[in-house]
């Protein structure tokens, strides 16, 4: 018995070890997957529609989508100009204002109101650049929601959205 032993036995050990490892890995799948959003949360994250008609110029509203605050700003002429009269290359996160709004709807700025530093909610129409100011660690965003000064590394993110009509958008 023992003369045939080593190779046969080694194979057996390796095979069993491999099967055991597969089992352990498979066991981890449900244990990890259960922490991902469940299907009711996913379903609740469906797109939402927002009516823009009641928002007057100079006003900003906050809506929630997937648990995130979304700022919708009706910008004035001067705010749009302020956002466009900047040397894009000089910005920390260079991006033209035109790339951050939908063409033909330049007055509407739709951004996710979460500071790109560490996730606080910036206050609209405040700070040195008249856009947003994050009180947590002092990040200043301009009227296009771009980072201008402070520790935040990137511009406020734009959520996926589309204009259904001139006064209605769907977010998501």
């Amino acid at each position: 018995m023992s003369s045939a032993g080593p190779t046969r036995r080694d194979f057996l050990f390796v095979a069993t070890g491999a099967v055991g490892a597969i089992g352990a890995a498979a066991t981890l799948v449900p244990l990890i997957a259960q922490m991902n959003p469940d299907s009711s949360t996913v379903a609740a994250g469906a797109p939402i529609e927002v009516d823009l008609a009641p928002i007057t110029q100079g006003q900003a509203i906050k809506v929630f989508w997937r648990g995130k605050p979304i700022y919708i700003e009706h910008r004035s002429k001067s705010e749009i100009e302020a956002a466009r009269n900047v040397d894009v290359a000089s910005l920390p996160d260079p991006q033209a204002d035109q790339a951050r709004v939908k063409a033909g709807h330049d007055q509407w700025l739709v951004v996710i109101g979460i500071c790109t530093h560490l996730g606080c909610i910036p206050i609209a129409r405040q700070g040195d650049f008249g856009g947003f100011f994050c009180p947590c660690h002092g990040s200043h965003y301009d009227t296009s929601g771009r980072i201008r000064q402070g520790p935040a590394p990137a511009n406020l993110a734009i959520p996926p959205y589309a204009f259904l009509s001139d006064s209605k958008i769907r977010i998501g």
């Binding site: 018995m1 046969r8 469940d38 379903a43 469906a46």
Partner: protein, 684 residues
């Protein structure tokens, strides 16, 4: 006998570490070099299996807590949320609920093994008592866990068990109020049970450490019951005991998986799929199968205080076993008389369990009293006397000399335990109930799947007939499009959803408003509240249909319930629903029917509040299926089965994969075990 550390770290780092914190040395001496008697049989693998089950329960429990809400208004629904929405939630919950049963099954085998081989005797008294403490903690933990889903059985188990303490003279009532945190079982009770249910498993783990520690001080007992005298009598734990344990653990896991994937509700009770109702006690309340023997003892005594005392003494007496048994021979293999009394005791315990599941009336009570009496006589009279009367057989000189016996007995024990386990599962329901006819379901059996067309037809029936009175509150409209269900396409789901009116709000004016339904919405209820539903239905409340297919059943009787565990017959609920839907008839001449009720052959008590809902031709099928009441009943029932168990197909599919995996693993481990041990047989 304590493991001597022969561990020699090889690397410099490990030597450095070992000199400061000798963890590896401890592990090595406890689980590698630790000498185990060479003649241990498979009954000795249950300690390892129990450790495994404790880990399974703790891991799945921690995960379930991430999704469970311990509040009377939300507990039931959050369990259903786990079953429906959480990724693999159904798997984790079925693992946990069936895991409790497997834990107790292994525990009982472990305890009976200890009794058979006299493992509680000197020098293992403390080891045994620690085991009894673990068992007590397990019972408390299992009970409180059973309360958490807040179904009917949960609620009434909590009420009955806490009321045991009201038997205490003078302080009984204040103690019970204190346990409840109120004047009845309620939210404070649920929350404290939740807290303790989370705590106690860690207490168990702590006592398990002591148990294992004590074991490693005195060493394992063995089938001969004589202590090892030389190195020839023992083998190092690794690899010999390790592979044996691993192989049998894999075998045990196959049984576990069978329950989890194929008959997950077999050991539960349909009534626990009905949300707790403090106003109505189910006709037959029974505890989980693992408490049934003690429940029988409780009910056998006609006096409240004495019944409670008997119940607690029947457990406490186990702790005195080392001193009640006066024989100096440990193993029943060498005690011809004790051996017979041992088996008699096993039969008495199983018998008590069976009686615990029966209604407390007539012959059952008498039988319970006889068996209860014997249970105590076994400890108080038989065991002390046997030590003096019995003439033990000659013991072998040493373990290595002994020959293994008792394999037949082992198989018998397994058979009895399994039969008992199955026997406890289905308590009696009202005897007058007629068994519904069997229906051939596409979703029955290990490879059963729902029939999509049937589910779609069933939904049509629900929508056109049932929905006017019955809610489906746990389901969302989006479920209609999910895989494993009726499988409507997303546009179909959206248009079905839009046909429902859903209450939403408040809007900016502070008013509630109605809007078209969306897939993410729940099915709207036909009535705004219970009172409105009752008022519209002559005082009767049409039950919610979300889990009705699992909340109904009927008794199959012996021997069918045993066979059902093997054939995976699980469709008691659907069969019953079809029978009720088609069971309307004219009442017999002598039957007094209350006003507004209808006669139904299969409904318990025969007087049903629901008027006959289905008749031929009332719903139009477009796929050519016969438009008969029979067909309607089957279709809507299949739909309700899906509503109750939406992940049935995934369960059976993953179950099959798991079974294949476990069989391969067990096979490999078996060959490794043979290899490792064959080496030994050659040279021994």
């Amino acid at each position: 006998m304590s493991g001597q550390s022969t561990y020699q770290p090889r690397s410099r780092f490990m030597q450095w570490m070992e000199a400061r914190l000798p963890v590896m040395g401890l592990v090595h001496s406890s689980f590698v070099a630790y000498p185990t008697p060479r003649n241990l049989n498979y009954w000795w693998t249950f300690g390892g299996i129990l450790s495994f089950m404790l880990v399974v329960q703790i891991v799945t429990g921690i995960v379930l807590v991430m999704h469970f809400t311990p509040h009377v208004d939300m507990a039931f629904n959050s369990v259903e949320h786990i079953m429906r929405d959480v990724n693999y939630g159904w798997l984790l919950r079925y693992l946990h609920s069936n895991g409790a049963s497997m834990f107790f099954l292994a525990c009982y085998i472990h305890m009976f093994r200890g009794m058979y081989y006299g493992s509680y005797k000197e020098p293992r008294e403390v080891l045994w008592i620690l085991g009894v403490i673990i068992y007590l903690l397990m019972m408390a933990t299992g009970f409180m866990g059973y309360v958490l889903p807040w179904g009917q059985m949960s609620f009434w188990a909590a009420t009955v068990i806490t009321n045991l303490f009201s038997a205490i003279p003078i302080v009984g009532d204040p103690v019970v109020t204190w346990l409840w945190g109120g004047y009845a079982v309620g939210n404070p009770t649920l929350q404290r049970f939740f807290s303790l249910h989370y705590l106690l498993p860690f207490a168990i783990a702590g006592v398990v450490v002591l148990h294992v520690w004590a074991l490693h001080v005195v060493g394992q007992n063995n089938p001969t019951g004589i202590e090892p005298t030389s190195d020839k009598d023992t083998l190092p734990f690794t690899p010999y005991a390790t592979v044996k344990d691993a192989f049998f653990l894999a075998m045990f896991a196959i049984v576990f998986a069978w329950f989890v994937f194929y008959i997950p509700n077999y050991l539960g009770h349909p009534d626990n799929y009905i949300p707790a109702n403090p106003g109505v006690t189910p006709v037959h309340i029974v505890p989980e199968w693992y408490y049934l023997p003690f429940y029988a003892i409780l009910r056998a005594i006609p006096n409240k205080l004495l019944g409670v005392i008997a119940l607690f003494s029947s457990i406490a007496i186990l702790a005195f076993l080392p001193w009640l048994d006066t024989s100096r021979v440990k193993s029943a293999n060498y005690r011809p008389l004790y051996r017979q009394f041992f088996w008699l005791f096993v039969i008495v315990c199983v018998g008590l369990g069976w009686l615990g599941s029966k209604p407390a009336e007539g012959g059952y009570v008498i039988a319970s009293r006889l068996l209860t009496a014997w249970y105590f006589l076994h400890f108080i009279v038989v065991l002390p006397l046997l030590g003096f009367i019995e003439k033990p057989r000659a013991l072998p000189m040493s373990i290595s000399e002994s020959v293994l016996k008792g394999k037949g007995a082992a198989a018998l024990l397994a058979a009895i335990v399994l039969a008992g386990l199955a026997g406890f599962a289905r308590p009696a329901t009202a005897a007058e109930q007629v068994a519904p006819p069997r229906v051939n379901w596409s979703f029955a059996g290990p490879f059963g799947n729902y029939d999509r067309a049937q589910l779609q037809r069933g939904f049509k029936i629900y929508r056109e007939i049932c929905q006017s009175c019955h809610s489906l509150s746990l389901l969302s409209l989006r479920n209609l499009g999910e895989t494993g269900g009726p499988d409507f396409s997303p546009p179909q789901v959206a248009s079905i959803a839009a046909e429902y009116k859903v209450k939403d709000g408040p809007n900016d004016q502070g008013e509630m408003f109605e809007r078209a339904g969306r897939p993410a919405d729940r099915f709207p209820a036909p009535f705004p509240n219970e009172q409105a539903a009752r008022a519209a239905n002559g005082g009767a409340l049409p039950p919610d249909l979300s889990v009705i297919a699992k909340a109904r059943g009927y008794e199959r009787g012996f021997p069918w319930f045993v066979i059902d565990a093997v054939t995976q017959f699980q469709e008691h609920g659907p069969d019953y629903i079809v029978a009720v839907l088609t069971g309307y008839a004219d009442p017999p001449a002598n039957f007094k029917l209350a006003a507004g009720a209808a006669y139904n052959r299969y409904f318990p008590g025969n007087a049903i509040g629901m008027p006959k809902p289905l008749s031929d031709g009332i719903v139009t099928y477009t796929d050519g299926t016969p438009q008969t009441a029979d067909q309607y009943a089957k279709d809507v029932t299949a739909f309700l089965m899906w509503a109750a168990e939406p992940h049935l197909e995934a369960r059976k599919r993953i179950g099959f994969q798991t079974m294949i995996f476990l069989i391969v693993l067990a096979g490999l481990l078996y060959f490794i075990k043979k290899k490792v041990w064959s080496h030994l047989h050659d040279h021994a």
